[in-house]
């Protein structure tokens, strides 16, 4: 099956700097929602601009439904784009904004008003057609931007940090809205964000970018459970990362001491990065049991349902997420919680 949006070995460099994206390949299947995430300057917005046609790649091909559109104008690509600050036309009403793509396509006023009304209904803004954008809240403006981008039945949807300008409470609600609307239109979507919660909760697949390179693209659970490297592990979710050296078939030496692990099949002496997710550490009642270490609490954060503690243990720092309310003096590392990553 051909991807709705395909990027093949695309390279783009900003003039006079190392920034850009390098030999990046990514495919978005029809109806799929891919969230592209990474620290600022990683190239995620550049990727969106390359797909949109605002930038032209130095090398590589951009395809829409298999058709090579590299070098084609923005207009001809027919992609629905939602900009970070919404970019609603301030002098047009909500209805005129949403009808604008239909207006430039020469659709008659009554027909485009009807279609714009339908699209507004889809985003939950029926009855707002005659308002001006400035009269709406941030969340409502966001919906208008989404409606306008969808009004002309685009080939795919590109969302550039669409929720970053909203306050925290609105953002979480809008996340579900974006997902619902994207599902109902069954439209291939690329969403750019730097918010890992947004990525985890929205995406069919998450693409992680770092310094212009695609580090990993996989479903959220796979990114979390089998991160490609220490960067991904630390960027999505919380992570304890410790340098280690394989000491036996089921042992690894770490700053904490020797850790028992499941059988791993790695040769003794190999250097690895040990990943232990904070929620998989256990509070232990006493020392003595295998993989149990005495710790000192350096920071204790109470979140209601859970507690997050920073621990010091033989010069290493550990973070634990626990349901326990009591004192934490010892922690146990369950062998099955130990994962190995390539050292960076």
């Amino acid at each position: 099956m051909t991807g709705a949006v395909t990027v093949e070995h695309v390279t783009f460099r900003y003039p006079g700097g190392g920034a850009g994206i390098f030999d990046l390949s990514l495919e978005i299947a029809p109806g799929e929602l891919v969230v592209c995430i990474g620290p600022s300057g990683c190239g995620k917005t550049t990727l969106l601009k390359l797909i949109a046609g605002f930038l032209q790649p130095e090398r590589g091909i951009v395809r829409l439904a298999g058709e090579d559109v590299t070098g084609a104008s923005v207009r001809s690509r027919e992609l629905g784009i939602v900009f970070q600050a919404y970019a609603l036309f301030p002098h047009m009403t909500v209805g005129e904004n949403v009808a604008y793509p239909l207006r430039v396509r020469g659709i008659a006023p009554t027909e485009r008003r009807r279609q714009a009304g339908e699209t507004l209904e889809l985003v939950g803004l029926a009855g707002f057609a005659d308002r001006l954008p400035a009269e709406l809240s941030g969340g409502q403006q966001q919906r208008v931007a989404l409606a306008r981008a969808l009004a002309f039945k685009p080939r795919a949807l590109l969302l550039d940090e669409p929720l970053s300008a909203l306050d925290a409470a609105t953002r979480v609600g809008m996340r579900d809205e974006v997902r619902r609307i994207q599902r109902s239109q069954n439209i291939a979507t690329l969403l750019i964000t730097h918010d890992q919660d947004e990525a985890l909760s929205l995406a069919d697949r998450i693409a992680i970018l770092r310094e212009g390179l695609l580090v990993q693209a996989a479903p959220a659970s796979e990114i979390y459970d089998r991160p490609a490297d220490g960067f991904v592990a630390g960027f999505v979710g919380r992570a304890n990362l410790l340098p280690g050296e394989i000491a036996g078939a089921e042992r690894v030496d770490t700053p904490l001491g020797a850790l028992a692990t499941p059988p791993h099949g790695k040769p003794a002496g190999e250097r690895v990065l040990v990943l232990i997710r904070p929620e998989r550490l256990e509070v232990a009642p006493a020392a003595g049991a295998p993989n149990t270490f005495a710790v000192e609490v350096t920071h204790d954060r109470f979140f209601g349902a859970t507690r997050q503690l920073d621990l010091a243990c033989r010069g290493a720092r550990l973070r634990i997420e626990t349901l326990s309310r009591g004192d934490v003096r010892y922690v146990r590392v369950p062998p099955e919680a130990v994962q190995f990553l390539a050292p960076t």
Binding site: R75, G80, F89, H91, V104, F152
Partner: protein, 263 residues
């Protein structure tokens, strides 16, 4: 308490000369007294009957209107070009260049015009179009400043990118997005231009030909005659400047609305 008194004092200082002008323009005789004696409307009638004032009045209106049109025709594309320039260095240089006339005394421009246009190859000194050209040079910076600032405030580049992605062609973007979104700053820019052009004296005094002297140039001579006449003539200039601004605002508003509703 103090800020209020400062404000009141400043306003009084601002309004007093205008009030005195008004009083003087309706006063009968005003020699060595604090206020004039008697009430009369004859000064206005005299100004209205004076052919040189009538001609100057019309010349000023024409020059202001033509300067406004020139600012639109030159300033709008220029503002757009400066705003869309890729390189920050180019933007900074363009900005410095177009703001230059503000720093330069109008006198310098006038001398330049006299030098160039009194020659045999370009013998245009005294033409009303030369006056318009000079006013345009003096006024375009103010117009550009208003419009470019608004373009940045609106994030016009992103609005255009959005329109582009929605299928809008360059010309459609200009008429559907750029022009209507900028209508407020175009309007206020034209108001400033009209007021500046109507009140301009330095340049016009040197460059205007005898038959198309603008109102302020002719006004200067009024002060050699009766005080009441001079006051009435000045009040007319004030009214002219204010109404030119209003007219500029109204016409620009009309043009923008027209462009906005074009389908």
């Amino acid at each position: 308490m103090l800020p209020r008194w400062v404000t009141v004092a400043y306003l009084a200082y601002l309004v007093a000369p205008i009030l005195l002008l008004l009083v003087g323009s309706f006063g009968g005789l005003w020699l060595n007294t604090l206020l004039p004696t008697g009430f009369t409307g004859r000064w206005y009638l005299e100004v209205a009957a004076d052919p040189s004032f009538r001609r100057a009045f019309n010349a000023s209106l024409f020059v202001a209107a033509a300067t406004g049109a020139a600012c639109l025709a030159i300033g709008l594309p220029l503002a757009y070009a400066v705003f869309r320039a890729q390189s920050p260095a180019v933007r900074a240089a363009a900005r410095a260049l177009y703001l230059l006339p503000i720093a330069l005394p109008a006198l310098v421009l006038a001398f330049g015009f006299i030098l160039v246009f009194s020659s045999d190859t370009l013998p245009w000194l005294g033409s009303i179009w030369l006056l318009v050209a000079g006013h345009a040079v003096l006024c375009v910076p103010y117009f550009l400043q208003a419009v470019v600032t608004d373009m940045q405030r609106l994030g016009l580049a992103t609005l255009e990118d959005a329109a582009d992605s929605l299928g809008s062609r360059p010309l459609q973007r200009f008429f559907h997005i750029v022009l209507p979104a900028l209508r407020h700053s175009i309007l206020s820019g034209l108001i400033v231009v009209a007021a500046l052009s109507i009140g301009e004296f330095q340049f016009s005094n040197l460059v205007a030909g005898f038959l198309n002297r603008t109102y302020p140039v002719v006004l200067l001579q009024a002060f050699y005659g009766a005080t009441g006449f001079a006051c009435a003539a000045t009040v007319i200039l004030l009214a002219l400047a204010l109404s030119a601004s209003a007219l500029g605002a109204w016409s620009a508003g009309g043009a923008a609305t027209l462009a906005f509703h074009r389908r």
